[in-house]
Point group: D2
Chain length 104, copies 4
């Protein structure tokens, strides 16, 4: 599982030097932060629709798309998926699930 996210992050890093015309990801980088954020909003909406439609394979597909575009954001901001995993670890790791408290 680790291997997949890390390898994906490396490929996203390499795409920074690709031609925006020929690479979907390079096109997103060229569109800037707003282009990436619009995709994150769009994929979150697709997850919601898929769940409301009760379409399980589409839920998987769209959650993967949503994670993918957050990885693109991280790469664009010079961050790595390991930082997300560490944050999840920090909250939930040592003592089972330390429950979220009092946040909106």
């Amino acid at each position: 599982m680790s291997a997949t996210l890390n390898r994906l992050a490396r490929v996203l890093e390499q795409r920074k030097s690709a031609d925006p015309e020929g690479s979907y990801v390079a096109g997103l980088y060229a569109g800037g932060t707003n282009a990436i954020l619009k995709k994150i909003a769009e994929e979150a909406t697709e997850v919601i629709m898929a769940a409301k439609d009760g379409d399980r394979s589409k839920i998987v597909y769209e959650v993967a798309d949503l994670w993918f575009h957050t990885l693109v954001l991280l790469a664009h901001e010079e961050m790595e998926p390991g930082m997300i995993i560490e944050e999840l670890e920090r909250r939930f790791g040592t003592s089972g699930l330390a429950e979220k408290s009092g946040r909106g």
Copy 2:
């Protein structure tokens, strides 16, 4: 990394028998799919705000929150994070990044 997502998924599974009053996650399950989906939309918005604010540590925090709530959705729908990793593998795994094609 794998360990974290899988352990988190197991804890989310266990929370299905917890008291909704005492557990944030059990409260989400009790609220049903709509409650979980509202949180996914909310966390996606928080990611967008954090990125527009250029607040890097908040980006990490909110992406972790977004991933977390997609894991809650998966648990609620009797699915596992490995399915998302497999979907990412399927698309990007064997040949580096097989670029997304022709989607909105």
Copy 3:
């Protein structure tokens, strides 16, 4: 103001018999509720971006787009903009602004 929203609603009604190939709105109707809802999510995101970018003319443009697509949804569901105005009246009309209370 009334004239604009009502006339717009009438035109949206007429578009139900238009060719989806030649009419943007008829294309949305043909795409079904999901197509319309995706646009509402997209335009809400554009409003958020425009506001974060401090781009005032874009805020106006995107709020207009957001309202427009909610009018498309209303038309698709056989409802009218007057129902929204009545709802706003009901809450805020008679006694100045009866403040929203206790909602998420």
Copy 4:
């Protein structure tokens, strides 16, 4: 209809001098642009849920909430609902519906 939106805008203007503790809207202003934008995202999501649930009275309620919070944004940015109506007029007014062209 005009009367409602304009009166609502005037009340929202007056709320700028209200106590954030005692007024929902003054509380939003005090929370700044991000607080208002989060509500716009939230209400857009509620519209989507209501539509997917086929709950017509909830669609009306949530679209009213969404319009309301865009009016709060406009007030916060020193703009008026008439500007949105003018924008809709500009696009759709004189010649029936001049169809949207070529936008995402």
